[in-house]
Symmetry: C2
Subunit: 215 residues, 2 copies
């Protein structure tokens, strides 16, 4: 576990991927009025080894009590806090095609702390319009806009052949985190955070695994 | 590599995840009129070791020629074919909230072989309507609808607290592949294909990595 100052903990990616599972489960328990949960119970429900759960949570300095387990409501709070879902993070969408527009209209993201405050595009027919209540600007104004608003997160939903050049432009404009929805492997300087959400790769996995079923 | 009959190859998941990267890159080269590409060139562009690329492609019986490399247009064709992007796969969306509707309107999925042919929901205000040109039905009719239409892929975009019960219903209705967009870890019988696309987990990774930047 890397620690870059007293409060901030950089966790291994597999742990960060599991934490939202724990959160969604304990949130459900919390809504049902359950007060305590054991790692064994979480383990059974989520199919993760209970020693792994205890280890993951200990990274956050969360420890269960013997025989009682974890207090559900404080677990919800600490997980959501740690994951950053309780804070507001502004972001822009670059590429307001069907997927970009979909994300601008998906209010689910707000529940996870993400506010999409602007869209950027090259197409005259969308520039100056609003999509899902969010204004769309000319990509040529990205750098000036970023200087004024200081937003760091860019969601990339451009056509795949524009992925790298758009990423370069976003980084040159001051964006330090790119959420890449294109299937392209973007190259970026070390200091830039890149998260790849290639939903089409998951489709390939589904198709491939289904072949196993039918034969 | 598991082989379940002569034509069908079940690849390791990391390989399947890389294949769409290769595809999007070589598609771009193809559009640019490039005829041949070496694994070294793909390696440099995508930041994957060239020995790994050669190994991944050899699973598909694709082999480059010495000094010349891979023929771009046939590589495009064979990758898209193998990944199932050239075939039509029908799917339903269960849960036509903001994310579900967004997917129904995202025509990008069609380019990857996925046709969303129906939506299902519990809410009276959407049942009987069309979203993105796709009809929405009462979830109570899922089993009957499935028997008639034989669709196997269900996209789960229900609220997280309904994830497991909806998955159970989909499986009982004859769906054999679930594309789970909820952050919930669904439990399912061995024969059911589950692909988890937890976009919110990726948000947690972005937030966590950005903490590393700013301190």
């Amino acid at each position: 576990m890397a620690k870059n100052n007293e409060n901030r903990i950089i966790l291994p990616e597999p742990t960060i991927r599991r934490l939202p599972w724990y959160l969604s489960y304990v949130r459900m328990l919390d809504r049902m009025g359950v007060e305590y949960v054991s790692s064994t119970q979480i383990s059974k429900e989520l199919n993760v080894q209970s020693s792994q759960i205890a280890k993951d949570l200990s990274f956050l300095n969360i420890r269960g009590k013997t025989r009682i387990g974890y207090e559900v409501s404080s677990l919800v709070h600490e997980l959501a806090d740690f994951l950053g879902f309780n804070q507001h993070h502004d972001a822009v969408v670059i590429g307001t095609g069907s997927l970009g527009t979909a994300l601008m209209q998906d209010h689910g993201l707000e529940h996870y702390g993400l506010n999409i405050v602007a869209g950027f595009d090259v197409r005259d027919e969308v520039i100056g319009k609003q999509l899902g209540g969010v204004p769309v600007y000319d990509i040529a104004h990205l750098a000036a806009w970023q200087r004024e608003h200081g937003v760091s997160i860019a969601i990339l939903t451009v056509p795949v052949e524009r992925a790298q050049q758009t990423a370069d432009l976003a980084i040159a404009s001051g964006m330090t985190a790119l959420w890449n929805f294109t299937p392209y492997r973007i190259k970026a300087p070390e200091h830039v955070v890149i998260a790849n959400t290639s939903i089409y790769a998951h489709l390939a996995i589904i198709y491939n695994r289904m072949q196993g079923q039918t034969s």
